[in-house]
Symmetry: C2
Subunit: 407 residues, 2 copies
Amino acid sequence: MTVHPTHPPFGSHRDLLLVGGMPLDRLAARVGSTPFFAYDRGIIDARVAELRQELPNSVRLAYAMKANPMAAVVQHLSRLVDGLDVASAHELHTALDTGINPESISFAGPGKTEAELRQAVAAGVTIELESFREALRVTSISERLGLRARVAIRVNPDFQVKGSGMKMGGGPQQFGVDAECVPDLLAQLRTWDLDFVGFHVFAGSQNLNAEIIAESQRQTLDLLLRLADSSPWPIRYLNIGGGFGIPYSQRARPLDLALVGRNLADLVPVLEARLPQAQLTIELGRYLVGESGIYVTRVIDRKVSRGKTYLVVDGGLHHQLAASGNFGQAIRRNYPLALGNRLTADADEIVSVVGCLCTPLDLLGDNVALPKAEVGDLLVIFQSGAYGLTASPTAFLGHPAPAECLV
Amino acid sequence: MTVHPTHPPFGSHRDLLLVGGMPLDRLAARVGSTPFFAYDRGIIDARVAELRQELPNSVRLAYAMKANPMAAVVQHLSRLVDGLDVASAHELHTALDTGINPESISFAGPGKTEAELRQAVAAGVTIELESFREALRVTSISERLGLRARVAIRVNPDFQVKGSGMKMGGGPQQFGVDAECVPDLLAQLRTWDLDFVGFHVFAGSQNLNAEIIAESQRQTLDLLLRLADSSPWPIRYLNIGGGFGIPYSQRARPLDLALVGRNLADLVPVLEARLPQAQLTIELGRYLVGESGIYVTRVIDRKVSRGKTYLVVDGGLHHQLAASGNFGQAIRRNYPLALGNRLTADADEIVSVVGCLCTPLDLLGDNVALPKAEVGDLLVIFQSGAYGLTASPTAFLGHPAPAECLV
């Protein structure tokens, strides 16, 4: 009986998980300390290749850096995708350091500060306007800097996609400009000297249902074609977001990417006929990097309390908050776990895996079947390539920051 | 109608909140940027004084640094309390830097590493043993360093306290040694050369019900008196934790500290008769600092989307995760909020306060009554002195770290 997950995209050699072809024990020695995050560039490459194969050729891919802003990951992806999306001045710096064309960088976020907007105008990136006030601010900064800012309008759609992990469109929202107010903003933009390039809509995230994504993309393009009629300028940029999910539990099924691709193949000719200059962009974060990453911890203690076995590891929620169920999840579910140095052993023991923090929140695996673990073993949490380290309270209890490596 | 909370311990002058006697606008200018955390030393002093007045004189107070490890706060508290509790090597360093007697520092945590234990033995602090294996490790380190380690046993009690925000005792647990196994561990300790000083029990946290805390303290002391019978050495240290809660919502009522004090006054004479050398310690984190702190943000945008008004501020869940309901809370409730520069104005508008992050999780106040806010106003989140900055994912989306000040 081997019921513990050995996650498909990673290889194995005898008992050992392979990361970028390197056995996990050797990688741990190379890193020099646990815990650490490791990202497998081969898995990232394969994911991009799969997207290029399933989506129409004319669709551009952008990477939403917020999912994993590690500089090496961003550098690597900048050579594979067509654009980068940033959410802060710091992410902007990292994106610019890749050497990518600044126009291929988009900057979104409902609370951009004056200083951030100034940096974005100076950099020449595409600023996604989230409100009338922001549009006015950008105009004023453009005038002061003597630089014509490149802008798109982020649209809060007038529909909502069901089944998303998070809702980010429809109804009242802090994100973007309500669809029905976009013509007014476009009329305003006529009087300001900005380089308006198009629209951005983001209608959901972490969605595993291809039918819903397809329906959302249809509705989004319908909406954008309508809004384009109000534009005094040709539309050159249409970012319809992504929202492609990855499975976190063993019951969840992966997204049917082929279905999404077929749907886009139907939509693209209509779009090209109506808006011949528009470049259609799909923006993905988690889907590009989430499955490439693991969080590696070492078993420090193994203890039995009143009949229940605990593995205490040297990591915890301070590095992988989402795996403890404390970041946006309504219901706590175990992330896929394995003993990275005992892959072929029978999973004949039920244990709880807890982090080193002095809080009961620090639960990484609740009643998980694993091979019998010993102190020193390497406990691996899969699906840790996105919203892992940077979405975690690293300073909590003052433990050292973990290393990160791209292998 | 003024229904917005102007939090009692902070003073006000005209429209302005006072922090340590300084008007908030001047403090913001002194700090130089928003967002920031500010802690009012006068409120901390008053809380300690209140505890000294309500609790028996012989009770020692310890500060659990994990609640707020800012060095200035720890330095300040080290002169007011009798001990510091640390949860990592980094917290240990900060505690030692205060100049407090190392024996008054306790080090707890289920996943202490070999390196951390070595530092703790070298420092001469009280190590709270969480397992047999840890006891063995400490013995071996003691031998190697030629230093007799000072140790206590952390006990997982055989009862559970109802009504705590979190359960940390009773049933199977990763924390401490099951009460029924403590006599075995004490027998082992006879053969090892350690300086055994006593016990630590922590049975809950964030509890607002004084009756339950009193009952828990009775049960804890009963248990510890029983366990003391198995000790070959006199008991000098009894840390019975704390778990004193603070109110986060307007409906929650503050803890009846006087009741807790009267209960302890009944228990202390029994304890002193049975274990004359035992120093009884109450360990508090949140209760000492939580109410002293505010998180100050500035309104960047004010927008209306489909009839709903949003205030977008320059802070967010990356600094104050718990206020967004994403840190250990089952149900999201608004923290108390105010416009720190409009305290006397009528709260005649219902708004949602959102952070600057590009995620719908970044909700700081849902349908809150506030005075009409303008861009530039200072939006204050109260109850932010504990589990604020260090319990938040500061690197998320790459925004700058906020300043902290003790005023």
